[in-house]
Amino acid sequence: MGKILMKGNEAIGEAAIRAGCLNYFAYPITPQSEVAEYLAKRMPEVGGVFLQGESEVAVGYMLFGAAGAGERVFTTSSSPGISLMSEAISYIAAAQLPVVFVNIMRGGPGLGGILPSQGDYFQATKGGGHGDYRLLVLAPASVQETAEMVMMAFPLAEKYRNPVMILGDGLIGQMMEPVEFPDHLRTAPSDKSSWATSGMATRGSGRRNLVKSLFLDPDALNNQNLLLKSKYDRMRCEEVRYEAYNLDGDYQVLIVSYGTMSRVCRTAVDNLKAQGMEVGLLRPQTLFPFPLEAVRTAAGRPSCKSVISIEMSMGQMVEDVERAVCGIRPVHWYGKCGGDVPTPEEVMEAVRDLMADGR
């Protein structure tokens, strides 16, 4: 199969099928409703199920149930819809179930707008639901990468028995780019017989599996949280992903940016280079775990005078950048979040201002 032109939202649907996920529960919301449109047509062709819930709250618990029964299952939504699912996300993480969530972010807070935003960084990486849980958060910057991350998300969710979130923005969902899928379907799921409530007769182990999140005994709950923490610590060791751009030169400013925004920054870096200014760009591909070491190392390069987090939010990822840089360089922020994606020119101006001020 060669490259075909696809909207990001359609590629998400196709990628899930290629990953062997035949259960999709969702409720429509701009700017990602094309996923449901695509899968309403595609799922029956491959023997799968698309079920539209009566609300995002309901969808969250449909996912909980199907995942608990050992099925590969996923959903897509956009910011306000993810807020509604957040209670279920906490329960799913607590019950250690593999579910893939896709958030094609739009502007907030509240109903906000329907244009691209990155305002859900905190929600995705620091919780959104209650309690001590983490999502593994992947942040694609192109349609091809979105498809690859969706296909990667299912095995990752099963490896950790933890929800995985793909955090894109409206532009990633709406734009078309060439995308190439592997020819073979990846249908082999992991062995879930030790935990899934798939029916004792089908397992033949004679042992009951129990999916739950209630631990009234304080020691038991503490142990449960320690177990969850050990998984998150393992993610921090094994799953960090990022892309370096122009990081082997003597850059004066280091940009940290992800998703659509990072592409705009890449163009700004190219344009500034043509004008004789060296700027480095580090693009986190995992937001949790955040590439702390990589950002710290890049910031520590002797030529680097300052670091700037550029994001379509009022300054969320910048807190992780500060945590990474640990005060060895000043850390700044630039962003916008009404839905107008900053242009390369605006990014260049923000970077030039830093250089001019010697900050």
């Binding site: 490259k3 032109l5 701009t30 700017p31 707008g113 329907i114 244009l115 409206g170 532009l171 709406q174 734009m175 078309m176 780019e177 060439p178 659509t260 592409r263 705009v264 890449r266 163009t267 700004a268 190219d270 839905g339 994606v341 900053p342 242009t343 390369p344 020119e345």
Partner: protein
């Protein structure tokens, strides 16, 4: 090198489709390509626009403030976007709905009565392809044969529409070359 084409008009003029066909043609010729629609509140008001970015290396910013070329299917689109086109670009003007020019001397106005030509071809709805064909013929942004091939693929399941659209392509090309 990177080139950008902005398609603009009102809803129903086939803006998104003609842009997609150009993107498809560029992909077939081995270029990098991004198709970016407007999906914001303005489209609820009836205007539609879409940008196709074609390059020979991975495309960075999908946000294009100053496109190289513009295909304006109605007057508000021309008035809004003509000033943003980069010097040396082509502005296709749908003469049937736009009685004015771009007012610029550093771009090429390609004035084509696309609605009339589409009607001659057999269906007014083919106006988007008349415009695309005229633009491709004048700009050479992709080979005309590639365009024809992509239109044939796009309408493979609709022989009636395909026949009309192939005539529409020729009408557009003649207008650009005439």
């Amino acid at each position: 090198m990177q080139s950008e084409v902005k398609f603009a008009g009102f809803g129903g003029q086939g803006i998104l489709l003609s842009a997609k066909i150009l993107a498809h043609a560029a992909l077939d010729e081995g270029h990098e390509v991004v198709w970016i629609p407007s999906y914001g509140p303005e489209m609820r008001g009836g205007t539609a626009y879409c940008t196709v970015v074609i390059g020979d290396r991975p495309i960075g910013s999908p946000i294009i403030k100053n496109p190289m070329h513009l295909i304006a299917m109605n007057r508000p689109s021309l008035e809004k976007f003509a000033p943003t086109v980069r010097p040396g670009g082509i502005i296709l003007i749908n003469a049937n709905l736009i009685p004015i020019g771009s007012g610029r001397d550093d771009v090429t106005d390609l004035v084509v009565p696309v609605n009339d030509l589409a009607a001659t071809a057999g269906n007014l709805r083919a106006a988007n392809l008349v415009a695309l064909a005229a633009f491709v013929a004048r700009s050479g942004i992709v080979a005309f044969e590639t365009l024809r091939h992509c239109v044939a693929e796009e309408f493979a399941g609709k022989p009636g529409a395909l026949a009309v659209n192939l005539v529409a392509l020729e009408k557009g090309r003649e207008a650009a070359e005439g």
